[in-house]
Amino acid sequence: MTQDAQQLPGMISGGEPSATRKFDYTVIVWVVLLILLIILVANPIFQLFKESFFVSEDEAGGFTFQNYIDAFETDEYYKPMYITMMLAISVGSISLVVGAVMAWVVSRTDIPFPNLIRNGILASFVTPPFLGAIAWIFLAGQNEGWLNKWIRGLFGLSEEFYLFDIFTMKGVVFAMSLYTFPLVFIVVLAGLNNISSDVEDAANVAGGGTFHTMFSITLPLVAPSLFAGFILAALEAMILFGIPAVLAIPAGQHTMTTQLRAFMVSEDDLLGLASAYAMPMLILAIGMVWTRGIVLGRRGYATVGGKGGQRRPQKLGVWRIPIFVLCMIPLVCAIVLPALALLTTSFMKNLGGGLVWSNLTLWNYHFILTNDAVRESIYNTIILAIMAATGATIVAAISAFIAQRKLIRGHQYMGFMATAPIGIPGIVLAVGLFAAYTKQPFVLYGTLWIMFLAYLTKYLPLAYQTSNAGLSSIHPELEESCRIMGANRLQVFKDVTVPLFKTAVIASWILVFMPSLRELSASVLLWTTNTKVISVVIVDFYEETLLGPISALGVLLLLITLVAIVIGFRLVGRDFMRSAG
């Protein structure tokens, strides 16, 4: 860098810079990134792998295959795997249909209030899934769920009758789909926006109706996006911890994530067993991400050409209003009803008392605000989210910059490295971090740092993709012309790139900040007395079934998220969440 500053402007066009100077620069960057990657990914995964072959009694034992035998031999551990696969397939399929149809409707038709639908979907995207699941207990509990009571009242049915029972696997699929279909929506919408309407128009001209055109022209063209969306939703269903913890365990069912956690918190030392059990999850997740990459990577359709093409909305005719109402149903289920349920429950004195004036209280809010764990968790959550957002944004911005501007040798691998963690499920990463950093000499367990590492790793890919997308829209010519005018690299970066790049940086910061506020699947294994965060306190309270205080805390978490979104809108405009896919 210092040599850079002394460089004369003419030298840039004066042929290759000297070999030694370039060598230094490259090595430093790579060494730093490599160390980071080793700490964040390689070491935890290696330790995970190692632990899975060792006897992990408190007094350490030797090499063994017993963990794998234990993990895959008995029915009781095998069943959660089967259940998880079924969940992934059903949730993926439902999300695919709902998300794709809504994306088509928003992108291609004259549906009323398309922005309302779009913002609603983004809102459900940022709602913590475990809160949604808890709220749905109030809504669709078999005996006391409001919806069941309402239907009973409406048709004068007996107490025994119920339409919904959230404590079933169907309930789990339903709750999961509510919070995974936005993933499909975002991916498919992006795919649809890249196809110009010309081909669809041609189909219309040739006599094809709206729906015929959709099925025979649009659908095949967005097939890669559909597949990618399905994979994303199925993967999310596989690695979610909160919803099955809330809904499946009471029904006597474990998924792989909840079983993994049961191993980790068992009073017997089962780290080896947990590590072995995490392996199929890790392999599956990496496989899914890889397949998605392949399918998205081959953009072989010649008609998919940039955003230049004109898009004309298809006329829905008489179906306009019914389809709009249909589109609102998932949104009402994902946001409106849960928020209402949490809000009302948070003000109820006796849970069996119902919603009457005499049963209203502020006790739940008093309880959470005077509870040490809660107060500390609010502080920890915000600190961690700020740390993770800042850390991920800096690392992502630098690596994206290097990759885009081809600054160093091997720049083409930068993207791969920054997005590699995407294939590691949060809870598996947490087991790895736990295995790696609870032992001397690197004891990070018990500090916020281990959780920071987890968050950083988990959200780095998201930050990288956002930064990368932002940077690719800034032409290098601008920077080069400044270099020619005599500015050094640092000055160019500061005066040209950064101001142009700012929006993407802020967007990536907020995109990491928001999910960090509610991160659960890694935190739930890594928290300690002094490092509680809001999401684990909610799960903690759930294990004691403190439904009132949970509701109050949930309302608080939703408010914090809302504030973050509003600030995001103010700073970067409404589009900042588009890049989330």
């Binding site: 408190d58 005996n143 029904a251 009073e267 030392d269 849970l351 069996g352 509870n371 018990g446 294990e543």
Partner: protein
């Protein structure tokens, strides 16, 4: 009578004395340490209440509460110990078996809390590795809005009636030491056959022993297979539509020990806090929360039946230690989680 008045007066005197029995030197060192971390399995609101009361004394020692189930607290401490991390000072769970292990490995250290001389001998130990902080019984219960007193189960066997299928809530022994203890007692009496049939009733599984209460209070489940008597009776006092069931076969008595860690980072604060736990003030607080305590001078709420009026089932620490793991394994096998 006279003795009662004198001890009563003594108790009042103790209440007004800020430092209980801790001597000057301990107190001074405790202040320097500044805080005490309590790993405790007693229900969150009670644990927090005790900590808050302790903090209100402004003795220069801050109580840091870590509340979790007995099994998870035990695992957490051993895990932290393995990594050379020592956070916790004082430990309190409902699994006497764990305490036997901790004592065998000298992970806990003897300490006799001040003011326990006149305690019920069943609540104190000779070697002082732990002292029983509180006792309760595992109590079955039902929702009075959903089930009439006439129809409600009277015995453990009544819970197996097919008409309650899907309407029962059961807590998890891997999480709750209270429940593990109770289950061992019930298995001793009726054999595993009882739980095989219970599993066929498809109960909803919650984690903590007290976790079933809100579900039954809301009417989401109608019956609870067993919860901590103190949480139940407190919520009944608060007006929730619940009622305990006292089967003739008896109720499982669960005594919950409290001890001090050998490697407590704040050893003096740990002793000051332990003294506070067994002070008249906290003993009376626990009694008000419907718990049985060792101090003979506390006043119990009227709704709490005296221990000697209940038909009790009880097991010792050694039996708990031996049957702990097989019980959890069997539960997982039968109930799936």
């Amino acid at each position: 009578m006279l003795k009662g008045i004198i001890t009563g007066l003594l108790a009042v005197a103790l209440l007004s004395a800020p430092a209980f029995a801790a001597d000057e030197a301990t107190m001074r060192k405790a202040k320097k340490e500044g805080k005490v971390t309590w790993y405790s399995s007693i229900t969150l609101n009670i644990a927090q209440h005790i900590c808050n009361n302790f903090n209100k004394k402004k003795m220069g020692v801050q109580c840091v509460l870590h509340r979790d189930g007995s099994g998870k607290l035990y695992r957490r401490y051993l895990q932290e110990r393995k990594g050379g991390i020592y956070v916790a000072d004082v430990v309190h769970t409902s699994n006497l078996g764990h305490f036997l292990n901790l004592k065998a490995k000298k992970i806990i250290t003897p300490y006799k809390p001040a003011g326990t001389d006149n305690f019920n001998p069943k609540f104190v130990t000779k070697d002082n590795y732990w002292t029983i902080l509180r006792a309760g019984v595992l109590m079955p219960f039902y929702n009075t809005k959903k089930i009439s007193a006439k129809d409600a189960p009277k015995t453990y066997a009544d819970f197996l009636d097919p008409k309650w299928k899907g309407k029962i809530v059961h807590s998890h022994p891997s999480y709750s030491g209270f429940v593990t203890n109770g289950m061992i007692n019930i298995v001793n009496k009726f054999g595993w056959d009882y739980y095989k049939k219970m599993a066929k009733q498809k109960p909803k599984i919650v984690q903590s022993a007290a976790g079933g209460i809100p579900l039954v209070a809301r009417g989401e489940a109608w019956l609870g297979a067993g919860t901590t008597s103190y949480s139940l009776l407190k919520l009944i006092q608060k007006g929730e539509p619940l009622k305990p069931i006292v089967p003739p076969a008896g109720l499982a008595l669960v005594t919950s020990p409290n001890g001090v860690f050998t490697k407590a980072p704040n050893p003096n604060a740990a002793r000051v806090f332990t003294d506070y736990l067994f002070s008249m003030e906290t003993m009376q607080l626990l009694a008000d929360y419907f718990l049985y305590v060792g101090n003979p001078d506390v006043k119990y709420p009227k709704a709490l039946p005296p221990l000697n009026k209940i038909n009790l089932m009880a097991i010792g620490g050694a039996e708990l230690k031996k049957k702990n793991k097989p019980t959890r394994k069997m539960f997982k096998k039968l109930f799936g989680v």
